[in-house]
Amino acid sequence: MDLKPLFSPRSVAVIGVSLGNDRHPANVIFNKNHLRHRVKVFAVNPKGGSLLGETVYKDVGSIPEKVDLAVVAVRADLVPGVIRQCVDAGTAGAAVISGGFAEVGRQDLQEEIVKIARDADFPLIGPNCLGVYAPAYVDTFFLPAERMIRPEQGNVALVSQSGGILVDQMIKFAEEGVGISIAVSIGNKALVRELDLLRHLSEDENTDVIAFYVEGFSKGEGRRFVLEAVKSKKPVIVVKSGKSEAGSRAVSSHTASLAGDYRVFSSVLAQYGVVEAKNELELVSFCEALSCYKTPPLCGRVGIITGSGGHGAMAVDACSDLGIQVPGLSGPLKETVHQSLSESVAQIASVTNPIDLTGSAVDDDFVNTAVALASSDEVDCLLLLLLPYLPGITSDLGARLSSVYQRLQKPVVAYVPRLEKYRMLIEGFELNRVPVAPSIEGAVLMIEALRRCQPC
């Protein structure tokens, strides 16, 4: 099953446009692709006619060329016929937006379309989904363009069973400046499932990090998923809903009682180095960190550099909660750091870990300290707590500190309050591939992401 035409289509047929209702989901999809994307888009309705001056084709077979992606938004009982027409017309694949299948008890109708697609080796996404948002190619979400928050084009792929969660995550990604390569809502995942997408995205050159929102796997599917994830060279992140155990099933063995469904899920993911995000904050933090550091070195010992003692103490607490070490520094390393500081700061800075450069620190103090720590073998990565309101700090500091990573290859994570006026400082990091969190907790989670990416 080749998913590529679905995710980077050159042509799209939107099947089920309305000739009278501009707000029909199919019309929204037709309009936004017609007006905003490079992809060639064709409208289909059995009545024919025209829409916004464009021809409406009576069926997919009447379109003068073979179409890569059919977006199907017709009534559920008409979907099997439409899928047959797509197969006959040589369409490469379909996203079925329509609901009215297994989610409302029409398992039979769902099985019918799966059979047609499977027999023809025809990739089908959905039904009951939003489909595909690939920033460079296509957008099958039936949400008007002006209502959507679109993350920048980037290297994180997002796959979600729930369309709503996916759109919410895209908003968070946009807020945090995390770019996406593709977002796919798989709905009832009748044919194309997480495993197929994991395989495809592992090979996709535009994707470096693969993130999933999963409600559950079918029998044995979780095993196949982790075994596939281990083969993928890319970080795989999973956030799961439905963690609480359903009811209190009477279990007669200790093992069955102790190894509940979610505990097994969480343990096995960790065993295979699949990063489990426990909530949305973790998901976005992990995606940002791993999109910068794709093959992270083990980051068990962190060196913290701060402009305020309180920030340092809070970061230590957050590290300690997660079991991340903040080791004391050796005498010689402390001396090296001390020597590198400007004269006035050297007298008042506290050179332990966290290293508190105080509110008098200037750019050079941060950069020199970062270089000293990153050059030592006493820490694995650096956490920088930057307070842009300190008088000695300029907006050049982000880019300067990023170059410490580029030169010395020790991962760096920064905390900077996310305010418009600090944007240049933040972009100095982010555009140079150093992740920035808007909270201390988020920054520590980014360190945790590097750690959780290793099999336990």
């Binding site: 095993r223 279990v251 200790h254 093992t255 102790l258 190894a259």
Partner: protein
């Protein structure tokens, strides 16, 4: 591939829905896992005969298809030091529901651990390992990995326990027989892979681990509903 004898015992147990201790231990022994040298004594006489051969102290546990949790039912006696005591225990057991004899075996020494297996819907056979005994569900110091286990998985399981110091040596105590424990975990995980579809869950609890040996002191295998 499961040995014919193991398949036979599992088929036999389908009537009751679970495999009682003596048969469960036979399965483990067939699969090469370390179990104590036990006998399934049907009455006082057989128990006494075993005692004369092996000496004391002994443990005795009731065998009954009606008793899944033996300790809760008063069906476990440990540190039996004489033939009189043994006969008393057997007499008491014989009045329990469904009495079908008792497992009699030498007392095993060491720390009480649990090694368990479960057929998980999403992930198939998984292994649970942790601090065992009757309070296993109170402390909940257990870890889970997907089977089959590599030796590095077994090692990581031991080191992931909160109580790992108890196993690795603490306050001058020697560590438990770690290589034997790891082998037990790995071998058990392979048996579990072969039993997919045939069993629902397995408790080896306790597994007694000392600095020289690890022995499965009790075992129970639950079968899937028909």
């Amino acid at each position: 591939m499961l040995k014919e004898k193991i398949v036979g015992i599992l088929a036999e147990a389908r009537k009751t829905g679970w495999v009682m201790e003596p048969q469960a231990k036979s399965i483990l022994r067939e699969a090469g896992l370390p179990v104590p040298d036990f006998t399934w004594a049907r009455d006082e006489g057989e128990a006494a005969e075993f005692a004369r051969e092996k000496g004391f102290p002994l443990a005795a546990k009731v065998v009954s298809p009606a008793i899944v949790h033996k300790s809760d039912a008063g069906g476990v006696a440990v540190n039996i030091g004489s033939e009189d005591q043994l006969r008393d225990v057997m007499a008491r057991f014989s009045r329990m529901e469904g009495f079908a004899g008792a497992v009699v075996e030498p007392m095993a020494a060491g720390m009480e651990l649990i090694v368990g297996g479960k057929m998980d819907h999403q992930f198939g056979p998984v292994v649970l390992f942790g601090v065992g005994g009757t309070s296993v569900e109170i402390y909940q110091d257990t870890v889970i990995r997907m089977a089959p286990l590599k030796e590095s998985d077994a090692d990581s399981m031991i080191r992931s326990l909160k109580g790992k110091k108890l196993l690795l040596g603490y306050r001058g105590q020697p560590p438990v027989a770690l290589e034997k424990l790891k082998k037990l975990l790995v071998d058990f995980s392979r048996l579990l892979m072969d039993m997919e579809g045939l069993v629902e869950s397995i408790d080896l609890n306790p597994v007694m681990c000392s600095d020289t040996a690890c022995l499965v002191a009790d075992a129970r295998i639950m079968l899937p509903p028909p």
